[in-house]
Amino acid sequence: MSDDLLTRAAHDAVELALRKGAKEAAGGAYRAREVEVQWRDGKLERISEATTRGLGLELYVDGRYSSVSTSDLRPEAVQRFVADAVATTRAIAPDPFRALPDPALYRGQEKVDLDLVDPGYGELDAGARRRIAQELEEAARSVEGGGAILSVTTGFGDSLTESVRVHSNGFEGHRRSTDFGMSAQVSVKDPDGRRPEDWDSATGHHFRPLPPPAEVGRAAARRALGRVGSRKGESALLTMVVENRSAGRLLGQLLGPLAAASLQQKRSYLEGKLGQKVTSALLDLADDPVVPRGMGSRLFDSEGIAARRFPLFEAGVLRSYYVDNYYGRKLGMAPTTRGMSNLAWKLGDKGRDALLADVKEGIFVTGFLGGNSNATTGDFSVGVQGFRIRGGQLAEPVGEMNVSGNHLELWPRLVAVGGDPYPYSAARTPTLAFEGVQFAGV
């Protein structure tokens, strides 16, 4: 399906919905080609390759709303599917807040080339993918102490995703992106009988800027070997330094309750905090959708609303919520966007090691395990592993521990923001340090 065919499919779906009785409709068609190779312990483990497609519709019928999708694109099946969906929509209750966005919100898209498509996409063949996967493993096994490695699983994948979105009140948006990703996961033998594992990975819209596979493979192996001898530490109030790549988990528990749906449903500990200081002054964060090659970049959001940068926190003061069209109408708030794109941080000037030196004593968290956060109250409790920090340096590995608290008490104790954003995620989290965090262990 070329872009023309996708465009026609989206328009056809919207027209069909209107013909079957919808007053307004939004339609989306997508197509994705995904290829992945997985490699393990000296040989191919799995290859998978597919071109997948689907169709989605949001229907506004007699003041009522439904959202439907199908991968059964046989013309007669689509006809029946849409007719049935319209009939179902008629059966439910009306909702005065449901309507497509005001077309004024579609206008003013940034004139930026987001550069989400690698022009070299398609040049990698099956052999090249296998060589990358193989190189990841060989590098992992080459590190000092590699004799303790029990198993290495690596992978490389690439994809091309194309989608077209059409609204009956005048929006048409096209999106096309390529993605490349490599990863290595290493399991090692611990003399106590456990088999600790860790991983490393790199992803991007373009292939060439990715780091050499050997770097990723070695990092995964060193991380896994670093887990050997891990013990449970003592329960204590300590400074917690969170590694950049893991900090997204904690940050998500701060940003989730910013959704208008959470506010309107009274399930947000950040309700009523707009304009108030919620975190330490070190947190300065904007949602920035128009970053070239950004992992969360977009010119329009999932409702067709033109994407713009806006502040979330300025010197710790909450400046905006994530307001979508529907809950914005329910709350009487102007829409911002439905969900996070990329985050832009006011970064510190220190890397991990300098931050550890400042902190002197505490725990460096390299991974979270399970746990949860109560979006209504802000209470959280999550499992952690990492390293004890002693004398400003990483000391023995610790695991099977837990941190708990309340986000409204945790974020004011943010004492350092690193200058080292994790490049392979849309959140681009730097290393973060918090004082006085409750750790549970022995």
Partner: protein, 518 residues
């Protein structure tokens, strides 16, 4: 769309199905010719349900021929048609509906323990053969022969008999269920300020045919009702809820069950106003009968999935035949619980699915196998080869995992604890397969002080190490319950429905991620 190489997708976790489910429905017209027979009869034509999409045995034979064209040992095709309908109530009205139709086919080729996989939504023979040729590339040798005829095995068991099939239930019949729950939850306690009700039904079928000539179809219904409520008291807010799920038709929603959903949702929310975080540190933990089976899912279930052991990365990789728990500990993974969310008549590779013994009298007995690991270990498959859908190759997965009743009584277990916690309800858990560390998050529970249940606790994560915790299970009650909740298990980016259960159990020490001094 992020790359599938992202290791985030490889984590093992479990969670309650949330209120943000995607959608569902399609219609009666699409499914109008479905029959209630669990499988087609006769040996000449093994394609029953999928005949409506133009699928024939000849097409399958041609596809399998292409799949083995480069010397694969074994190949299978997996057709899936799943129609889900969701209705959601918010602010007093069922004001949103969702529908999803999934139709597609996956082709798998196996060479040793290597897998080639391709899938398509286009059920034409040309598209299926193209997928097969892609998957065939995992091997590199002379062609192997594919079957020309297929045989339907013995009759499948029927573990999800339907009285009221979803294809015959109109939206208008479902709406009063949601409205009634909403009204009853509000009516039960004046502190309730917001109620969300989410309802889902699924119907559809899968067909598996393989290069040994086996062909099997299974109709797989599912339903789920999720209630969440928000209550206010003295300026404080708390959220809680309850949910039920099963492989059943509309008859699932008996008056008793609906009343229980309402009662539990309100009780689990309003108790939170009296609850506090427990202390931090190691202490005895008593797990209530039922959903506490999450302990087994994380502490041993994932570690016993044979792929992790075949790859030598599980902490249980060298422990078969060895004692891992007290002699009164028996743990099973069971496909046969009628109507359970984790029940299956047949696995997603066409293998018989029964009851698998993980731990017998305290000794580690059997891994959970799919076809690849069963061949690797030279044992029979255990019917644990499962997949999320046609886009995915199968792998060893749990079904309903639970511990059999033991010799103790709930009362004596609680009375035995001087100071510890009692865990009643859970939201999610996760495990590191190799290190064995696992967690589960407790939403509701109580302190145990001097052998008595005392003040309520809430929102606390518990962390332990699988094999160590099994050794520390020192009391098991006789009150086994299989939980009725809508549990979903995630592994390598695939989510599947599971069940779990436990009798009341005491673990002599676990780390409780609370606040303050122990």
């Amino acid at each position: 769309m992020s790359s599938k190489s992202d290791p985030i997708g490889r984590r093992r976790f479990m969670q309650m199905t949330g209120g943000t489910l995607l959608a569902a429905s399609a219609g009666d017209a699409l499914l109008g010719c479905a029959t209630s027979a669990p499988r087609p009869g006769g040996t000449a034509e093994g394609v029953g349900y999928f005949a409506r999409f133009g699928v024939t045995e000849a097409m399958i034979a041609e596809t399998l021929g292409a799949a083995l064209s480069r010397g694969g040992d074994y190949a299978d095709v997996y057709f899936q048609h799943r129609v889900s309908n969701d209705l959601a109530l918010e602010d007093g009205a069922v004001n949103r509906a969702f529908a999803t139709v999934e139709l597609g086919v996956g082709v798998r080729v196996v060479k040793g323990d290597q897998t080639g996989y391709g899938y398509t939504e286009d059920l034409s023979v040309e598209a299926m053969k193209a997928c097969a040729q892609t998957a065939a590339a995992v091997a590199d040798g002379p062609s192997n022969a594919a079957p020309q005829r297929f045989h339907v095995g013995g009759r499948l068991p029927q573990r999800y008999p339907l009285r009221l099939r979803w294809e015959e239930i109109r939206p208008e019949q479902k709406l009063p269920l949601l409205a009634g729950v909403n009204e009853k939850v509000f009516g039960a306690d004046p502190r309730v300020k917001k109620v969300n009700v989410h309802f889902r039904d699924e119907s559809g079928a899968v067909l598996v045919a393989d290069s040994q000539g086996r062909i099997v179809e299974d109709l797989q219904p599912m339903t789920l009702l999720y209630v969440s409520c928000l209550a206010e008291q003295g300026g404080r807010r708390e959220q809680g809820g309850y949910n039920v799920a099963g492989r059943a038709g509309f008859e699932f929603y008996s008056d008793d069950r609906v009343a229980r959903v309402v009662r539990e949702a309100v009780a689990r929310t309003t108790i939170l106003f009296e609850a506090a975080s427990p202390p931090a540190g190691e202490m005895p933990v008593v797990l209530a009968a039922g959903s506490s089976g999450i302990l087994l899912h994380e502490a041993i279930g994932h570690g016993m999935e044979a792929d992790f052991n075949r790859k030598n990365v599980s902490i249980y990789a060298d422990k078969i035949g060895k004692p891992v728990a007290r002699p009164f500990v028996n743990i099973v993974d069971d496909a046969t619980n009628e109507g359970a969310r984790g029940a299956i008549n047949v696995d997603d590779e066409g293998n018989d699915a029964g009851t698998t013994n993980l731990v017998v009298n305290g000794v580690l007995a059997t891994y959970l196998h799919d076809s690849i690991s069963a061949r690797h270990y030279g044992v029979a498959p255990t019917g644990n080869g499962r997949r999320q859908g046609y886009q995915f190759a199968p792998m060893p997965r749990m079904r309903a995992t639970y511990m059999l009743p033991g010799p103790h009584k709930k009362e004596e277990i609680i009375a035995s604890v001087k100071r510890g916690i009692y865990c009643e309800n859970f939201t999610n858990g996760q495990v590191h397969i190799g290190a064995g560390d696992f967690t589960f998050y407790v939403k509701n529970g109580r302190m145990i002080e001097d052998g008595k249940l005392t003040r309520p606790i809430k929102d606390v994560n518990i962390i332990g190490n699988g094999p160590k915790v099994l050794e520390k299970i020192d009391m098991v009650s006789d009150d086994l319950q299989i939980d009725e909740g809508g549990w979903t298990c995630g592994k390598d980016g695939q989510s599947i429905p599971v069940s779990q259960g436990l009798p009341t159990v005491r673990v002599s020490a676990l780390t409780v991620g609370g606040r303050g001094k122990a």
